[in-house]
Point group: D2
Chain length 287, copies 4
């Protein structure tokens, strides 16, 4: 992905009814847009919800873009009572990362970013430990050490809000082993993606590999999900598994699992940055 085309993306969700696709594509056509990709999904043709993602080329000046968005609102979005979002893909989303001691997920994201395969910009990294500083700064990314103890949790969250709120469009918990509060999520105001080191909903909570070993499962997995106030229960974006046998110790399972964790998290982050994930109730539509 060495050069990125000047694409515009449009995401829409609304109650399903006839004529939505026609109205949207008709509007874009009359404006001179060249649609190159379009995905739709309806939960239920009778009274369900409708989701749409379009990619199109439409070179506009800033003034023209404002007029375009106003027109779209008046002539398409309001009549169909749409929730919608338009995004110029040349504006890379800024990503903030939180990490604790295990750094494999963080490193994987930084390598992908440097290889140019991430449609975003890693703006900063913060951690409750100072271990990863050298690695992160080696990539030219600012690193912030924000210790957390049971007593200082509110102050720590305050400090993290100063760092992240307004500075990024996405926060990634790349094996950040602290529970974040509902208030933190609300004040942060941008989506937060977490990687859980199990195939949720199996083995939610702590020590998933230990419990998987006791239970004798034959596949272990990882789950990337949006963070909600309820622990480990937010909408799932991506999951994958790897086969294990009785010969694999908990230590080996953790090492095998680390490969799955970083791959699953990277895929979820990539898809989010490409505006391919829409949330509906407690699930996701991933185009």
């Amino acid at each position: 992905m060495t050069e990125r085309p000047a694409l515009t993306r449009l995401l829409i969700s609304c109650a399903d009814r006839p004529g939505i696709v026609s109205a949207v594509s008709g509007f874009l056509f009359t404006q001179g847009a060249n649609i190159v990709r379009s995905d739709q999904y309806t939960t239920n043709p009778e009274g369900g919800d409708f989701f749409m993602r379009m990619e199109f080329f439409l070179p506009l000046s800033d003034a023209e873009r404002d007029a375009f968005e106003r027109d779209f609102t008046d002539r398409v979005a309001e009549p169909f009572e749409m929730g919608w979002r338009m995004w110029d893909t040349t504006q890379l989303k800024r990503v903030g990362i939180l990490v604790s001691r295990e750094e494999h997920c963080l490193l994987d994201l930084m390598w992908r970013w440097r290889r140019g395969s991430l449609e975003g910009h890693i703006a900063l990294v913060a951690s409750n430990h100072d271990d990863a500083r050298a690695d992160v700064e080696g990539f030219g990314i600012p690193y912030h050490h924000v210790p957390v103890t049971k007593e200082t949790k509110p102050q720590s969250e305050e400090r993290l809000l100063e760092l992240f709120a307004g500075s990024c469009e996405l926060v990634v918990l790349a094996r950040y082993m602290q529970i974040v509060s509902g208030e933190f999520l609300e004040r942060l105001g941008v989506p937060v993606i977490n990687i859980h080191h199990s195939f949720l909903p199996a083995f939610a909570g702590a020590g998933p590999y230990e419990r998987a070993k006791e239970r004798g499962v034959k596949l272990i997995g990882a789950t990337a999900h949006y963070v909600t106030e309820e622990l480990d229960a937010g909408p799932i974006i991506e999951q994958d598994v790897i086969r294990v046998t009785h010969r694999d110790s908990i230590q080996t399972m953790k090492q095998l699992g680390a490969d799955i964790e970083r791959t699953v998290l990277a895929r979820a982050v990539e898809r989010h940055l490409e505006d391919r994930v829409l949330v509906t109730e407690n699930t996701t539509v991933v185009f």
Copy 2:
């Protein structure tokens, strides 16, 4: 899939240019169609090919349908020089199957058909052996024994054409170990899907498991593809693999492979019957 909704499907391919989606969805909207699924794909926004598949509800009498198709031709298809095909999903496609001695793929298709998970009707089975007769007739499907020798091949193909041409919209080679001639394919006039017992293009031709064993591969696979005159080289619809080790004998590899073969073939046939496969050059677009 106990009840099947009265859906119409529309498949389109043409040179890409602005306005196609808008024209199609606008036309459908003015006709009162309710689009429930739409997939598009462009090989290249600049001068590439455009492919589209739409599913919509539009209850029409036969007379209305004729008028609808005429209008679509005049107002959409011809201006955009489209290749297109419309399909009423209540009309199940008739499927003919050719098989030799190995019957696992045939059985799998018949079971799926009986379970109601195949959007088609298995109209007949023919084989160059008589082994599978009891099984096939047990499903209430006509069975035809058409022996083939090197000398009688032209007569055998003639007999198969009498049986299949005009009687089915799809022919499936479910481990049919005879090479079919280009003339046969042409006169048959409907798509033919074959299952090859290897991960093509690796191990094309005969004895793939034997050669995979000698080569020490760690995964064996199967490939479902449309049959063209060039052996084992037609457009690939679906592939899958399974892990093997040095402990697996050729006999075991064949047994493991049989599971992959029947699954891969069934998926390819299902997708074809659901009009989800479009051919372009030597590849497929699978929506």
Copy 3:
């Protein structure tokens, strides 16, 4: 597996300590056995448990076999306080199957049996419904209809015990949707394998596909396990998964899941019949 060699299998479990492998293989060597496969596993070299499976050729008359087993007991098994089991693979294990309405797992087992890929003999099938009779009897297997209601459950289990106890070395619940009692299991006295239509421990209990859909999981799975008195919690033998998306309805998930269920159950039954599964605590060693 058209011809099956006259192999003997030996399975051993005991507390680990030095000299076990040497004692066993030394004994077999002096008796003239030709070991062709040997697997060992130690949970922990320090004070853990040791498991061993050996396959060897040793043609013996019945009288010689008795002497051989006495000698093995005296000179190897007792000194090491082994649990052990020896098995002549020409004696096919008899398998009984219980099924309810969903017959895909049952059919898959019967097909594999007829193809000769199952190291066992399907001796009988029983069901709380009469739906599968024609299919089962078509394979030449006795079919017993044993209805179950809440009131008649004890009598039904009594009837099943008459049919299965003493008539088979393995019972398979091939989508048998009744809970079997601890007393039934105890009196049956042979291992029972169940297929659960979820990736346990996620979605234990009823309606797993419905709950997976609500939760938005990206992979659905199946689990084959030995049945214990605690529901869905017995030692896991085999698991597998298949990818799903938001587009897959619950109906489609059930159809995709059916493919996984029958494959996972078949693998578990095959491995059990080949004496490759040993139970330890709540997990399995699968050689």
Copy 4:
């Protein structure tokens, strides 16, 4: 793998005949060894080849080890005409890496090494480009730039032999895009592992992703194999695949492929370093 036990490994290959396992385990037992893992494999009980890998604890001084090996030679290895190799796992194997421009495989190996999950020591890296110097030296590993042109190839190989021969027990081609000569391999005298960016034998040679795209394959893969004089035809150690669709451009396929390449290469290197790979004819036994 923070602490590594003082294990000894023994690898054996010889013509199969009765008594091998008994002789080896009996010898080890009388010497006081505690066997913790043992794998055997016979290509064919009648006149085939036998392979064995044992892990055991046996703390010996250097003098005792010499005596032990002499005894083993006299009493076990020579009578059975064994090829064998014993290895003290506290002696980490030294690994040399060759790389060109694509650095994802190199980075993955270095990260695993730093995380302690590689049973070896990365001793040096050489490349025909200077791009990766900063990364490699950042890990504290010596980096050597050895340019190669068609004219200077012999001198370059000479230089590489000075660097690698005698300095490492394994050489890894981590996307090294130069063909190495048979003479180089012979003079190097240690195994060389290569990662090929296709699912061999499909798409051997250059441009595999381009050719896979044209052919419309549905899975792309990677293959790690020992390097032999015949290009891309050496014994395969590990392979894996990832699913692609018509939507994936060649560029995307390369990015997806990069994840598979680094995982497959890392697994092959890990298994080699753990002495789990034995070569027989053109295949491998991977315990």
